[in-house]
Amino acid sequence: MLKRSVPSTAIVLALGFLLTASLAHAQSPLGIGTAEPGFNTSGIFGGLFGWINAQQQGFYRAMTGALKEMRDNPWAASTLVALSFAYGVFHAAGPGHGKAVISSYMLANEVELKRGVALSFLSSILQGIVAILLVGAAYLFLRGTTVSMTDATRALEIGSYALIALFGAWLLFRKLRPVRAPALDIQAVETHDHGHHHHHAGEVCSTCGHAHAPDPSLLKGERFALREAWSAVVAVGLRPCSGALIVLSFALLNGLYLGGMLAVLAMSIGTAITVSTLATLAVTAKGAAVRFAGNGSAGLRIGSAIEIGGAALVMVLGLLLLGAALQA
């Protein structure tokens, strides 16, 4: 019963997403610069998102204004950092900052919230670092070559989306894989672990033969999870935020090196806070749904359905974005 209904769940969720995810514009209409993937939607939460959008725009303009001011007055840096932080917080509510990927990772692995927050920060800061490196490289090496910053950004984008799709597919595969003979799995993990003496044998024997869904603890080898965590961080972090790129270009050309980097780092931290908040909400919501469904197999099924749905969503999202980026 689990295996029959779960693939259909995944399909339903994926179809639902397809309905709403219209043209994901990955290219700027002017042919210069790259846009964030833009899913134009309206409707139920229109008011709230309209407000968030207005805040984003407001803080973006204020932030760029503060950067210009730094040209004349270096001490405007503190205003700049505060505004960039605020922009990061609101901006992450929009598309493209790893919320889906990190949330799905957390759902699928039932990790501690602490670790989820750490991953959100790592991926956001990585996005900031990638932006700084990219603009730096564009300014120092790529100018005068046939590779423009737009081209380089596009390459990173494609890489990121491909990784996201692969990550989603991997999570989905893990969740849909049928339960194997437990003893074999644990041995495979044990032999390669140095200094980790987890004795899973006791747990396995008490649950094998009774659980109908793959027990998450069976799949949670320490090394396993770390590698998956890093995949999530890199998949998200590879694509730099277009707002950061524009700010850095301006900063570099005007000699405001420190200002530009401070702005981007503040933005990253703001983004990280929003992403970790939303990911935490996702995990809490799942917990509530599972508790609501009660103990026993119904709870397990709901839990698995959510995790599988999350993984399918990430994969579909990655594929859609990849398709749009390649098409543009």
Binding site: L13, H25, G31, F39, G43, I44, Y60, I246
Partner: protein, 213 residues
């Protein structure tokens, strides 16, 4: 029962869950609608002045000889790139005649200049079909993808040139977003399912010049 629940859950999850992408490019715009001979609209003249941030990123991308300045040949290349890219978006120009959309023809060239750290673009665009000065004509310049914000600082930036316009009533409409949402509440949801791209909807929010002749 369970499949239905899952279906509903899926639909709820899939319901608009992302905010609009927001503008990263800000341009001050000016539009002139010009009357030609025999009382037709001959062309629309556009001048766009882009913000310093975006202008800086254009320099980064097109400065081939690395002198941190855009030379005439580099400017020409910028113009060519934009000419090709904006074709798909009708050069941000939306013209309607009595509610019917009129296509625009591709301009010959987009002239680009760089002054005081800001990129300037000026070009003329002609309507794809003959447009007599009759009925309700609207002209809007905006980016349906919301990546660039085209701002007409004052109503005087949307002008008409030609004697034939004296017979027309001219108005500049700057829609209030809340009002538009309230007025169109019912049709928005339906329109959303018919046209998820929402490109028709952005028309409702954009500043436009309305002529009633």
């Amino acid at each position: 029962m369970r499949p239905l629940f899952l279906l509903l859950a899926g639909a709820a999850l899939a319901a608009p869950a992302t905010a609009f992408a927001h503008p990263h490019i800000f341009a001050e715009a000016r539009l002139e609608v010009v009357e030609g001979e025999n009382g037709m609209i001959s062309e629309l003249r556009n001048v766009w002045r882009f913000d310093e941030m975006f202008s800086a990123s254009v320099v980064m991308d097109f400065d081939k000889n690395s002198n941190a300045v855009l030379d005439p040949d580099e400017l020409a290349e910028v113009g060519q790139t934009v000419l090709e890219s904006l074709e798909e978006f009708s050069y941000y120009t939306t013209i309607t005649e009595d509610g019917k959309t009129i296509k625009v023809a591709k301009p010959d060239v987009i002239n680009v200049d760089f002054q005081d750290g800001q990129l300037l673009m000026f070009f003329t665009i002609k309507p794809g079909e003959a447009m007599p000065l009759k009925g309700k004509l609207t002209f809007g310049v905006y980016d349906p993808t919301m990546y660039a914000a085209m701002d007409f600082a004052s109503d005087d930036d949307l002008v008409v040139v030609g004697n034939g316009f004296s017979a027309c009533k001219r108005a500049v409409v700057r829609p209030d977003p809340d009002e538009v949402l309230a007025q169109n509440q019912d049709s928005l949801t339906e329109a959303f399912f018919n046209d998820p791209a929402g490109t028709d909807m952005s028309k409702l929010f954009a500043t436009r010049l309305e002529l009633t002749c």
